[in-house]
Subunit: 510 residues, 2 copies
């Protein structure tokens, strides 16, 4: 051990903190294996309970309770390794069991064992995607995996470009950035001041990241025009065309249509073929935000819902959602090769030396917005190897079948009211639970008022009991309703049954 804590005010008081006995201490091997094995035991024990229906989804405590119950502070002096293990146990004790069969709260749920192993390996390799030189295997796997995803989208030979980014919002922002650059490359040097007023179009049900991206990119949220949707949440193409014409008449330049394949709340798929026709007619970049719905491309049964995606200029597709890959794993795929590079490169010669001894096309760092970039590909690649495309297909078909099962169970059940009619297109099923006290009320403002308070109370009770978790939200003129989504292959029919009965149990007195 050649690093001692001499920082103490009295230099003679040097001592070894326990972490100093771990690697890279020269004799640290045994201490390290023992410590990491202890950590592993904690993790493995957690994993087993993670999937156990008899355990709570969450042991919920309010923020002030958790802050008071433990001392989370960062101190000058080190803790022992036993205390570190205890910190780990506590962190997991109060964590959400995101792999629990009854955790339905987010679009990303579940915990895949091969994906998890791959993420552990990624942490252990502890490198970034900057250059081939520092991540040879991961850079090649990103190349192989993005090409495969483009093939599945339907771009000939898997040609094109792409990147794994830190989430769907950033992937969508990349798309806007590239679309703007394609139309007005001078924006890179000259900024928005040198180009006409741009406008982008997306549906009123699209993800807020389109507006967030527009705000960041200096386009402004007012320049994101929200297109009307039909009752099922799909963009209405005639309204899109009307708004494009209107914007052009006002002197704006339409540069991007962001269609959604799988909206956040309804799980709706915009009509991509009709949108592609309009984009072609008006020469506008077509982006498909398939963060949530992209996974359906893996299913022969369901991929028709994205028909037309092959005509997009760019596609966001988050394997960490419907494909169950651990967080984070989001891809932006671009049809035209080289555009990302031209758009983002800064030619920093001190970072991307041009006289290296290998093929520099594998140095992908300069096409990213980031400098260092986390390795997100390995878990997707390893899961794909373990499951095969057919394994992802089975996962997706199963989750969609469960959503249909839920839909069929509640469509005529007393006390349940569907927000949208018809079979679910994705795994989203949106519904109100109407407690007995409201069932015979007239459909007036008071009923709406009272109904709006039902879901929040049921949700709070769910969390306090820790039995299950599902999301709710208002949307437009519709008051708070539950949005059920299923992306966890651990979920089964019994969990759908449980959810329905639990909502009834927790809401019947409201």
């Amino acid at each position: 051990v050649d690093m001692n804590l001499s920082a103490s005010s009295n230099p003679s008081e040097t001592f070894y903190a326990e972490w100093q006995y771990l690697l890279p201490a020269s004799d640290g091997e045994l201490a390290t294996l023992s410590f990491l094995q202890d950590v592993m035991d904690i993790l493995l024990q957690y994993l087993v309970t993670n999937f156990d229906r008899s355990t709570k989804v969450i042991d919920f405590h309010y923020p002030n309770e958790l802050l008071q119950e433990y001392n989370w502070d960062l101190a000058d002096q080190p803790q022992t390794l036993e205390e570190i293990l205890s910190n780990c146990r506590i962190a997991l004790k109060y964590a959400i069991k995101t792999g629990h069969p009854r955790y339905f709260n987010q679009l990303s749920t579940g915990l895949d064992m091969v994906g998890l192993a791959a993420d552990w390996l990624t942490s252990t390799a502890n490198t970034n995607m900057f250059t081939y030189e520092i991540a040879p295997v991961f850079v090649l796997l990103e190349y192989v995996t993005l090409r495969k995803m483009r093939e599945i989208i339907g771009w000939p030979g898997g040609a094109g470009d792409g990147i794994f980014s830190p989430g769907g919002a950033i992937s969508n922002m990349y798309a806007m950035l590239i679309a703007r650059f394609k139309m007005f490359p001078e924006v890179k040097e000259k900024g928005m001041a040198a180009i006409p007023r741009l406008v982008a179009f997306t549906s009123e049900h699209s993800h807020f990241s389109v507006k967030k991206g527009a705000a960041a990119l200096g386009i402004g949220t007012d320049s994101v025009i929200l297109i009307r949707c039909d009752d099922r949440g799909k963009m209405i193409p005639s309204d899109l065309e009307r708004r494009i014409v209107e914007a052009k008449q006002k002197g704006f330049v339409p540069f991007l249509v962001s269609a959604t394949a799988g909206t956040t709340v309804y799980g709706a798929f915009d009509p991509l073929i009709a949108i592609a026709d309009i984009c072609k007619k008006y020469k506008i970049w077509m982006h498909v935000d398939g963060a949530w719905g992209g996974g359906l491309l893996m299913s022969r049964k369901h991929k028709w819902k994205l028909n037309g995606v092959e005509r997009a200029n760019s596609v966001t597709w988050n394997p960490h959602k419907m494909m169950g890959v651990p967080l984070q794993c989001s891809a932006l795929l671009v049809r035209e090769e080289g555009l990302m590079q031209s758009c983002n490169q800064m030619h920093a010669s001190y970072l991307f030396q041009q006289d290296k001894h290998y093929d520099l096309s594998y140095d992908t760092g300069d096409k990213a917005l980031q400098c260092g970039r986390h390795v997100d590909v390995f878990k997707l690649w390893l899961m794909w190897r373990a499951k095969g495309t057919v394994g992802f297909e089975a996962h997706i078909d199963k989750c969609l079948e469960l959503a249909e099962y839920l839909y069929n169970k509640i469509k005529n059940r007393e006390g349940f009211e569907l927000v949208i009619e018809g079979k679910p297109q994705h795994t989203n099923v949106c519904f109100w639970y109407v407690p007995p006290s409201l069932r015979n009320m007239e459909d007036n403002e008071e009923r709406m008022n009272r109904l709006s308070k039902v879901a929040p109370v049921i949700k709070a009770r769910m969390m306090e009991y820790g039995t299950t978790m599902v999301s709710y939200q208002p949307l437009g003129d519709k008051v708070n309703f539950f949005r059920m989504v299923i992306s966890n292959p651990a979920a089964a029919h019994q969990d759908i049954d449980f959810l329905i009965e639990e909502i009834e149990r927790l809401g019947q007195d409201l």
Copy 2:
């Protein structure tokens, strides 16, 4: 097991792939423990060799060699778990040993055992930082940790705001975004078209992400004015003031000065106090990019180099660099509270319900550019608990001592020529190796030409032998030179000695 692969063309051919025997399969516990223990054994074995000086830093192969040697393709059908384990072994076989005591290539090196354990736990928890509801402990730890970092910066009581972002480039982009919003809040809705022409200032030695951010944000790279540096790479305040006045005279609006604390190549610290005075005088947002140098705030011996940082409006500080936290871990700290939220929030009620049963100030998702956000805090927090502030201090003091050791060894050594005079301020030591054949040449163009080819050849040989790795680059009118940096606590004096002798061995015939 309630999920079978019925995707085969002949439905009677259903079979179970091996991954299906793992959890969440109802009887998957034993198979899972056995598989994950096998993975762990591979990782632990790798860890031990990671720090072993007798092993190679890298088993380098050219991209086409690696592509040909193995089949990396993604297929329809699953692989066995034994094949998956073999994939893991191969991935590690060709990985860079980023914890190796002789890996000096990047600003982020080393592998901390407690940080690694924390990252494994983070993967296992598999959640994101969106809301308190889905990440109660991690959200609280982010709050505690960011406050502590602000205290260390010197903001009273640790007040202010902040976020962990996917890397320093994105943190710097956040700072630009917030600075622009602070001056012209209407930019969020109206875009750059509605506000005056902005200009930002940063030194000619600053990181390229300032320009990258300006390109993305619609400001344009031409509006990033590069301020001259002195011989040691520090921004010259009088040049900054001159350029601000000049820009104002031309009708531009200066909105941001990005000072650097620890430049990428020289490791220079801009004079923050003088810069703060100028920012105050002209009412410009002062950002400090301390991605690399921020770590020195943990050292009582070295923190004076950042004197004045407490006057900044925002600070980027990457614990994944000088503090040895596993990738990724980058923080953006903001002095004014609430600004990030106003700047980035989109009020998506379907994502951030306002009628939840706990204190909503812990739902941090809407102040981020991202929607889902990876949990980056836990590894920093757990390392801090294990090491204490004094442990980070010892780490940093040790790395800086090693840099000074290197400097002292080569400053008068035949064949070595320092790029900048004087003791290193950070761990960056920049130097040319001059092979015997060039030592007696006149300092003319031909010598420069030949010298420029020395570092790339030595680097290529290093990688082929796999003995060590160090970066090189040209800078301004200076041809390719080595940039040595030390952030790995595994490095010792013997590794510095080795590097010097290895460069001599590999370069003497050039």
